[in-house]
């Protein structure tokens, strides 16, 4: 067990783990621009072409 986890209670760790998915919802992910130009297998495409 690392120094960091030894100092935290079991309850705190559990709470942190439960909160994780909720936190990821608030994380600001850059939305993939469907008009962005991508080069795949030599093709020059719009990202939305890949759907």
């Amino acid at each position: 067990m690392s120094f960091f986890t030894r100092k935290m209670s079991r309850r705190t760790i559990m709470q942190a783990l439960i909160a994780l998915p909720a936190l990821s919802l608030f994380r600001k992910l850059p939305a993939a621009d469907p008009d962005a130009i991508v080069e795949i297998n030599g093709w020059i495409l719009k990202r939305s072409d890949l759907a």
Binding site: I37, I40, N41, G42, W43, I44, D49
Partner: protein, 479 residues
């Protein structure tokens, strides 16, 4: 007047003021201009009225570096020169082609497009061209340009009658000017070879070398060597900065609406970059030729696309099932960066039947050109996506950094540079009037004076420059 041999010409009493070497598009155009101005001209033509293997043999040579056409295949040595088998594709260099490019050393002409514009209506008559339509910008990066496929005027055939009847122009066939003799200020004579033997010398007040984009360098290199620098006194750049238009299939395109671009009679359309795009990407000029893909080719493209963008592949299949044109091959021809190391040299090992060293052509494509090809296709592909005009696939050999394919067009049979126009005597051979630096009476005509090549076929510009030189000399000589 047309004479079939130098002996026949000698029998008449014709004193020429100007001696033109070569009767291709350049020599013929200058001769007609001078003749019309009342100036007596002799055109010495190495070949006869027809093709012959014996004459072609004088054009043999070797290429060192990248694969290139045999030097006796890529040009013709008889009356009318290579116009006897040119394809007749026409376009004039763009104004941007004359400008120096900060990212490509040794670019820029001492003249601008405006200097040849006054001659373009004459050029249209000579080459039987309709007017060019203006370029159509399809994005900030790409222009849809026009390349006219003309009736391919054969200069020997078209002007034979006129020249035969002319009182001022004497065309002397089967007469090879093997070298010019000079004293460092003037050319004093041309040494001749006719009917398989030495035929003495010919003198005139002015000489114009119009022997083609490879042969001008050969003639002047050999003449200079024989005259100890008396023909091209400032010879550092002589033979150097030789250029072609390398041409390769760079990929394919699928098009949303093939009729968005009015294709020509052979279903082709042409695209080039804007100056701003060239500047931003630091690349040379290029021309993308869009050619309709035959049915089996489209099927291959669909199969390939299905792995990456299945819905789009489905759309293409549907178009194909409706018999709609939807796919094209992309051929790219590009401007070579002028390099001093690309050059015409005299062979140390081989001479022709008249004892003149044959050509050893040193020619290699550069990294900048490879980048021009790849970035050019990306630019075109991006424009098609942004404008929803279609999609581009770049060939594997290009994206994988592979070698150039060896089974393709290779280049355009466009021989440019070697006697470049310029003001810096270490990087050019002729001045803005096509007069050899330091010489009073020696001029050079043809694409060997090109400083850069642009992306388009050269002969329309060659003929415009020939009209300009003819005009200039008429004024210099006066009558």
């Amino acid at each position: 007047m047309i004479f079939d041999s130098y002996e026949a010409f000698r029998a008449v009493n014709f004193t020429a003021k100007v001696c033109i070497l070569g009767s291709g598009p350049t020599g013929t155009t200058i001769a007609r201009k001078l003749g019309a101005a009342g100036i007596p001209v002799v055109v010495l033509e190495a070949g006869s009225r027809e093709f012959s293997d014996d004459s072609q043999d004088f054009y043999r040579g070797v290429t060192v570096g990248d694969p290139y056409f045999d030097l006796d295949i890529t040009r013709l040595r008889f009356m009318g020169g290579s116009s006897n088998h040119w394809a007749g594709w026409c376009r004039v260099l763009d104004s941007q082609d004359f400008e120096p490019k900060a990212w490509a050393p040794d670019t820029g002409w001492p003249i601008s497009r405006a200097d040849i514009e006054p001659y373009l209506s004459e050029v249209h008559d000579i080459l039987e061209l309709p007017d060019f339509r203006p370029d159509v910008p399809i994005s900030d990066d790409i222009r849809w340009v026009q390349l006219i496929k003309s009736p391919a005027v054969r200069f020997g055939e078209k002007f034979a009658d006129e020249l035969d009847k002319s009182r001022n122009v004497a065309v002397v066939l089967n007469t090879y000017a093997t070298e010019l003799a000079g004293d460092g200020r003037r050319v004093t004579s041309a040494k001749l070879w006719s009917n398989g033997q030495d035929a003495g010398s010919f003198t005139a007040d002015y000489f114009i070398a119009c022997t083609g984009g490879l042969e001008n360098s050969r003639l002047l290199l050999w003449s200079n060597q024989r005259s100890n620098g008396g023909v091209v006194p400032k010879a550092t750049a002589l033979g150097r900065y030789w250029m072609e238009h390398p041409t390769f299939e760079g990929g394919n395109a699928i098009l949303a609406d093939y009729s968005a671009f009015e294709v020509d009679a052979t279903n082709e359309a042409f695209f080039s970059p804007t100056l701003a795009a060239m500047e931003r990407l630091e690349i040379m000029n290029f021309g993308i030729r869009l050619i309709e893909t035959p049915y089996p080719g489209v099927k291959r493209i669909i199969a390939d696309l299905a792995c990456t963008a299945p819905e789009m592949a489905e759309w293409v299949s549907y178009q194909l099932s409706q018999d709609l044109r939807c796919a094209a091959q992309l051929y790219v021809a590009w401007e070579q960066a002028p390099l001093a190391s690309n050059q015409v040299q005299l062979s140390k090992a081989d001479v022709d039947h008249a004892g003149v060293p044959r050509i050893e052509l040193h020619w290699k494509k550069s990294e900048l050109e490879r980048r021009t090809l790849l970035e050019g296709l990306r630019l075109f592909g991006t424009t098609l996506v942004q404008k929803d005009l279609g999609r581009v696939r770049i060939a594997d050999w290009l994206t994988n950094g592979g070698d150039y394919p060896t089974n393709e067009e290779l280049a355009g049979h466009h021989h440019m540079g070697g006697t470049r126009m310029g003001t810096d005597v270490t990087k050019s051979v002729v001045d803005a009037n096509s007069k050899v630096h330091g010489m009073d009476n020696l001029y050079v005509g043809g694409s060997s004076v090109f400083c850069t090549s642009g992306e388009c076929n050269p002969t329309t510009t060659i003929v415009a420059l020939a009209c300009r030189l003819g005009d200039h000399l008429s004024k210099v000589i006066g009558v």
